[in-house]
Amino acid sequence: MRWLIALSIIFAVLLSVIPVPFDWRIWRPEFVALFVVYWATYSPEHFGVFSAWLCGILLDVVSLATLGEHALGLMIVAYIANLAYQRIRSYALWQQSAWALILIGVYQLFTNWASGLVGKSIETIDFLGAAALTALFWPLLVVVLRKIKIRFRLP
């Protein structure tokens, strides 16, 4: 289980630094936050606030941000997801997507606030468009990871 979590997070970090044209970067889905929400909802016994912090620090280092910028938002999101996992897991996929949208919106608000502290905030709410794009990936992620888990006989 742990190797799958680690691999998926590394994959997500890789996706979040793939070069795209400068003006498209604002639309890049928040893959790391998506995976953090997924693991905090589906494996809360393996993935808690500390794991989310580790993912956040890795993302900070790789994306050349100030240390802690993404870690803060990911910790908060993982905490909320850990609290609500029983209820969320019984919902339909599209309802879970809506939940992911809200959580990733929260993550982006905190990240944007944190980068505002260092003078780099986005003044409009354009950045929430990326959250909507990310939420579209949620059903795909759940289905694919379910297949992988069955294939490798993981819980």
């Binding site: 070069p19 795209v20 003006d23 280092v61 050349l64 240390l67 944190a114 260092v118 950045f127």
Partner: protein, 269 residues
Amino acid sequence: MGIGRYTDYLQSPRHYINVISTPFYWLGDTPARIGLWFDDTFVSRQTLMEDNQRLQQQVLLQEARLQKMSALANEANRLRGLMGSSRLLEDKVVVAELLGISPDPKVHKVILNKGTQDGVYVGQAVLDAYGLVGQIVATTPYTSDVLFITDDSHAIPVQIIRNNVRTVVEGIGDLYQLRLRYVPSSMNIVEGDLLVSSGLGGRFPAGYPVATIKMIDRDPGKSFVTVYATPTAQLNRSRYVLLVFPAGDESEGVNESVPELSNNQVSGE
């Protein structure tokens, strides 16, 4: 986070910690590299011959221009010698390749594939074939981060090449625009003026093209004019950039330098 931002205690650890990011950018760049490899490998003979011919003509033209330049540079140095001032030296440059782009949409930063192992240092100026790109703000042993002149935390001292008026041009977070603030309304500046780095402050070498003036916003009610300029460097297109080692600098230790590409480029336009 505050420690990282407001103090520099984390500076040297991050020089090493950031090595973790290198494989990510290297992997992320792989598709582009494979694409380039395909472009290089599967080319028809026809295209190669055409390219060859075009490049040969280009080299011929450049050589001719360069001869004139070297004569002019000699003359300028002789005149400077007569006036008792120091000689103009030619800067050395090293070619580096783009490895990645900062994922943060508000930050205009790219990652190069040369680091302290190649002699790169923080504060070094970065050029492309058309003008000044930015400066190195962080290094790891194998990569370095370039802050573009268009980033909204960047400003650079320049002078207008037509009349040597000095001013400062700053980034506004727009890849195609720079801004000059607090320009006195009496200053002699017109659209189309070329701005070159003035070398004040000692960070950027003097004489490299930075931007051309695009729009002058004269508001009679204000005592200052706001001027907008377009960077001459092709910031979103160049895959190869040049790292400048100022002349007389001992720290360079690389052989693939191209001494021909120097200050003199500017006046050829």
